[in-house]
Amino acid sequence: MLELRNVSFEANDEMGTTEILRDINLTIGDRKFVVITGPNGGGKSTMAKLIAGIKKPTSGSILYDGEDITELGITERAEKGIGFAFQQPVRFKGIQVIDLLRIASGEELSVAKACEYLSEVGLCARDYINREVNASLSGGELKRIEIATVMARKPRMSVFDEPEAGIDLWSFQNLISVFEKMRAEIRDSSIVIISHQERILSIADEIVVLDRGGTIAKQGDAKTIIPDIIGTEAAVDSCERLKY
C-alpha cells in the first residue's frame, strides 16, 4: 500500500517558485488499478515521479507498506518493488533490448524468457531482442519495450507515466489491450497509470482527477467519475486526443 500524506511540490526556475502539487493525500491500495488524470499542467507526471523517487516532495511524506520512503532514492525504491515507465522512453547507444530486460530482471535472463516479455507487449521477439534501444526504433516500439522492462522487473507497484503520449493512434489501440491484460491478471501488485484515455479510465478500480491547481478534484470508482469528466481534457476518446 502506498500513501501520500500532505504532499506538496514546488518547482523553482528563473521565473520564481511555482506550486505544482498542493497538499495531496492519497492512498493506493494493494491489487488496485488506479488511473490518475486531469488537465495538462495539473501535476500528474510530477506525482508519478514523486512515487518513483525521481523527484522529492517539498513537504509531506510518502509511505510504502507503512514505511516512510520520502528520503529514499530511485534505486532504493526500485529495490522495494516500485517500477516506473517513462512518458518519453530513454534511448541508449549500444545497449540492446535484451540487455535492458536482463538489467530489469536482475538475473541472467534466458533469451526465451526475454522473448516472452516482448511477446506480451506485442513485439515479435526475434526481430527485436538484439536491436539497440536507440533512435532507429519508433515511438511505439520504444513504448512497448519500456513496458516490457517494467514487466521484467516484476514490481509490486508499477507506475506508467502517460503511456499514450508520443505514439500514433494505431500503436496506442494495440497498447490498450496490454493494459487490459495487466488489469485482468493483477495479483499481488498495484498499477498506477497516468492517462487521459477513456478506455484506460474505464478499466480502473479507482480514478483520481487532479485540477489545474495541483489538488485532487475528484476521486472514486470509474462508474462514478467517468460521467463527470467525459468530454473534458481529463477523459478523451482516441480521436479527441489527437487534438491535444
Binding site: A52, I54, G73, I74, T75, A78, E79, G83, F84, F86, Q88, P89, V90, F92, K93, G94, I95, Q96, D99, L100, I103, A104, G106, T149, R153
Partner: protein, 308 residues
C-alpha cells in the same frame, strides 16, 4: 604450449582472446622476439630481413581463414618499432587479429609502435581486429603508436575494429586508406581513456575509385583528466560516398577535441560528417536506476553499451 610467463599469457588473452596457440597462421611476439610462428598452405609468414617485422602473404582464393599476430610486452623500458606487411591476394575472405598488450611495472617507459600495411587484392574481404591494452602499476608509461595503411583494389571490402579500452598512457594512432573502384571500408573505433592518459587518432580515407564508399565511426569515452583528439578525414576524388562520425562521452574532467573533416574533389562525391560530445544523459541514469541499479552501476552499463 607457448613459452610465455603468466603476465604475458594474461596480456595475450586480453588482446586476442587467446589461451594458447591459435588455429591457422600466427605469429606471436613477446618482449621483442617471435615466440611462435605458423604458416599454412595458403598463408605464409616470413620474417623481414632489413627491419624488425614480418611479411604475411595470403594466396588468391583463400577463404574463411584467420591470421593472429598479437604482441605482448612485459619488460619495462622496452621500445620497439615493428613493420608488418600483409599481401592479400584476389577473391580472399580472411580475418586478421592483431593487438598489443603492455604490462609495465617498472620506472622506464615501454613502447610498441606497430606499422601495418595491408594490400587488399581484387574482390577480397578482410576483417581486421586490433585491441590495445595496458596494465601494471609502475611509473613507466605504456605507449602505443600504431600506424595502419590500407590499399584496396577494385571490389574489395575491409571491416576494421580498433579498440583501446584500458591502461594505455599515450597513443597516437594514424590510419590511412586508399580505396579503388567499388571498394568499401567500414571502421569502428572504440577508445576509452582515464587518469592522465592522452589519445590521438587520425584517419585519412581517400576514395579514389568510382563507386567506393567508407563509413568511419569513432566512439570515445574520456574519464578523469584524460584527453582525446579525434581527427577523422574522408577525401572524395571520385563518384563515391563517405560518412564519418565522432561520438564521445566526457566524464569528470575529461576533454575531447573532435575534428571530423571532408574534402570533395569530384562533383559526384557525397560526403557526410557528424560529431557529438556530451556527458551521460541524466535520463539514461534515471532509467537504469528505476531498474534497480545504483548510479555507478548505471554509468558502467551505459559506457559498456556505448563502447560495445
Amino acid at each position: 604450449m607457448l613459452k610465455m610467463d603468466d603476465i604475458q599469457k594474461r596480456l595475450l588473452e586480453e588482446v586476442a582472446d587467446l589461451h594458447d596457440v591459435p588455429v591457422g597462421a600466427y605469429n606471436l611476439r613477446a618482449n621483442g622476439k617471435s615466440v611462435g610462428r605458423n604458416s599454412t598452405d595458403e598463408i605464409v609468414i616470413t620474417p623481414k630481413e632489413d627491419v624488425s617485422g614480418i611479411d604475411i602473404r595470403i594466396k588468391d582464393g583463400t577463404k574463411n581463414q584467420s591470421v593472429h599476430i598479437p604482441v605482448v610486452l612485459s619488460e619495462s623500458g622496452l621500445r620497439e618499432t615493428v613493420y608488418n606487411d600483409f599481401y592479400i591476394g584476389e577473391d580472399c575472405d580472411v580475418l586478421i587479429v592483431a593487438g598489443c598488450g603492455i604490462d609495465n611495472c617498472g620506472v622506464q617507459d615501454s613502447e610498441h609502435d606497430g606499422v601495418h600495411r595491408f594490400f587488399v587484392g581484387k574482390n577480397s574481404r578482410m576483417k581486421y581486429v586490433e585491441k590495445h591494452y595496458g596494465s601494471g602499476d609502475g611509473r613507466g608509461k605504456r605507449i602505443l603508436n600504431p600506424v595502419t595503411e590500407v590499399y584496396m583494389e577494385e571490389g574489395s571490402s575491409v571491416e576494421m575494429e580498433m579498440v583501446q579500452i584500458k591502461g594505455v598512457d599515450s597513443t597516437k594512432r594514424t590510419t590511412k586508406a586508399v580505396l579503388g573502384e567499388n571498394a568499401h571500408m567500414a571502421v569502428r573505433e572504440r577508445l576509452m581513456t582515464h587518469g592522465e592518459q592522452t589519445a590521438g587518432s587520425v584517419y585519412e580515407v581517400v576514395l579514389d575509385g568510382d563507386g567506393s564508399s567508407a563509413d568511419v565511426v569513432s566512439r570515445g569515452v574520456a574519464r578523469e583528466r584524460s584527453y582525446q583528439k579525434l581527427d577523422l578525414k574522408i577525401v572524395g576524388n571520385a563518384a563515391c560516398s563517405g560518412h564519418t562520425e565522432c561520438d564521445s562521452i566526457i566524464m569528470d574532467e575529461g576533454r575531447i577535441l573532435a575534428v571530423p573533416s571532408l574534402e570533395a574533389n569530384n562533383v559526384e562525391a557525397a560526403l557526410i560528417h557528424e560529431a557529438a560530445i556530451g556527458k551521460i544523459a541524466g535520463d539514461q541514469l534515471i532509467k537504469l536506476m528505476t531498474l534497480g541499479l545504483t548510479e555507478a552501476e548505471a554509468e558502467e552499463q551505459i559506457i559498456n553499451g556505448f563502447l560495445k
